[in-house]
């Protein structure tokens, strides 16, 4: 507490901003770790269940078991669009057949694409804060250091003494701002890179699942 009491107003403000960045960054890191871990594990389980179960309606009934997987969102969107098209076919007395003339496959493809985009947005949520922290926290810390050193030198000028006992504490207090800036930035940058990699893997899985889903729909329901 003695340390914070000795710093100037600007340095205190800088330290508070850095503390905010650090707290939120770590919160995002914990949250994303949990989210990505759940998404990966539940996607694996969903894919296993998907290939084992032959019927879409049976899969749709069990989809609530895998709420954290982005693939279930894609399936729900695709299945919803497929069901609408089939309902339309029943009205035309051609059950279990979707018309390609009406662009049925394209509709499903668009629905899957929209779901993929929304899931990417959800997965990437908050990661921009990590990037911002990684890039700006060192500079904010540096600003605090520069300000602290300026203040320290001003104090030296006023006291007229340049001994180590006068210079060192001021500079040490000022350098703490840079240190805390780096402490906030380093985990944020590492977390951002880690989550970007994990999200890219999940996007690849979603693309593959979309393609497989469209293939199944075309094979099973499209009019010859």
């Amino acid at each position: 507490m003695t340390f914070f009491a000795g710093t100037g107003l600007v340095v205190k403000l800088v330290l508070l901003i850095l503390l905010y960045f650090s707290v939120v960054s770590w919160a995002i890191i914990f949250y994303k770790l949990l989210q990505v871990h759940r998404a990966n594990s539940e996607s694996e389980r969903f894919l296993e269940f998907f290939w084992k179960t032959k019927r879409f309606d049976a899969i749709n009934a069990q989809v609530d078991r895998f709420t954290n997987s982005p693939l279930t969102v894609l399936f729900s969107e695709g299945y919803g669009e497929l069901k609408k098209l089939m309902d339309k076919g029943e009205q035309k007395e051609e059950p279990d057949v979707i018309s390609t003339e009406l662009g049925g496959i394209d509709n499903i493809s668009r629905a899957l694409r929209r779901a993929t985009t929304s899931e990417i947005t959800r997965l990437e949520k908050y990661t921009t804060f990590l990037a911002t922290t990684g890039s700006t926290a060192p500079f904010i810390g540096l600003f605090g250091t520069v300000w602290g050193i300026m203040t320290a030198f001003k104090g030296i000028g006023e006291t007229g003494s340049a001994s180590l006992a006068v210079v060192a504490p001021g500079i040490a207090e000022a350098l703490i701002a840079t240190a805390i800036g780096l402490v906030a930035a380093i985990p944020a940058v590492m977390g951002y890179n880690h989550f970007q990699h994990k999200i890219r893997v999940l996007i690849g899985e979603m693309d593959s699942f979309s393609t497989e889903f469209l293939n199944i729909v075309q094979r099973s329901f499209a009019k010859k």
Partner: protein, 253 residues
């Protein structure tokens, strides 16, 4: 319509709380461990030591041979200096077997006076010799014909260690530092220089060489460059001297 387009951000609040608690704990740990505390530097007090009147401990105090406690006694102050006694000439024995007689009181005063007289005479002689030598040296310098001792300005350049040879050696040494180059392990070259009466280099002859061409070239380069700084030898005579060049330096032959 989409069944579930977005999942909720459940758990972020919990993460935020956890992060805040973690930072708070870290802050208290760091604060109480004193890691972030500003250094409290205190200037060491200045002690002034009087080196002139520095107290000296008794040399025997605490020495390995004698324990300090055993020599607690204060050392005795040194005895006051006594006046130097002049040597006294002992009178020869009068005759063997004769009983030794004490010299009279006036004899001691007489001997002391004789000694002082002799001392004064010796000092006078030494002063006269010194003045005569200085006068002779001044005469020789003025005439410029006298043969000086080795290394004196009046040397002819032919004596061992004469001044001119030393001067040439010094010039060569200066240039050799800048031109030295060699490829063998321990090269050496002996060169005999002949300098004309006007100070120009008449010739140089390599008398002995270890066979290092690069070193020989550097020696020749040294002589060529140093030649420009050679003054005429004293007494209007030619000067000839051998020099041994080695990487460690130049020696006279």
């Amino acid at each position: 319509m989409s069944h579930r387009l977005q999942t909720t951000s459940r758990g972020f609040g919990a993460s935020l709380t956890f992060s805040f608690v973690m930072h708070l704990a870290l802050f208290f740990i760091v604060t109480y461990s004193g890691l972030l505390l500003a250094p409290r530097l205190q200037e060491a007090p200045v002690y002034y030591v009087d080196v002139v009147n520095l107290p000296v401990a008794h040399p025997r105090m605490g020495s390995p041979a004698v324990a300090g406690s055993q020599t607690g006694a204060v050392p005795q102050p040194p005895a006051p200096p006594q006046a130097m006694q002049l040597p006294v000439k002992t009178p020869p024995k009068a005759a063997a077997g004769a009983p030794a007689t004490k010299p009279p009181k006036g004899a001691t005063e007489e001997t002391s006076r004789e000694f002082e007289e002799r001392l004064r005479q010796l000092e006078k002689n030494a002063e006269a010799r010194h003045q005569a030598a200085a006068l002779e040296a001044l005469k020789n310098r003025a005439a410029g014909t006298g043969r000086g001792a080795a290394g004196m300005p009046t040397g002819t350049g032919k004596e061992a260690g004469s001044d001119y040879a030393s001067y040439i050696h010094s010039r060569l040494q200066d240039v050799f530092r800048t031109t030295i180059a060699y490829q063998s392990k321990n090269p050496s070259v002996v060169v005999r220089l002949t300098i004309a009466r006007n100070g120009r280099l008449l010739r140089y002859r390599i008398e002995r060489s270890s066979g290092d061409r690069i070193f020989e070239a550097s020696v020749v380069d040294t002589i060529t460059k140093a030649e420009k700084t050679f003054p005429p030898p004293p007494n209007g005579t030619e000067f000839e001297q051998g020099f041994l060049f080695r990487p460690q330096g130049i020696g006279k032959q």
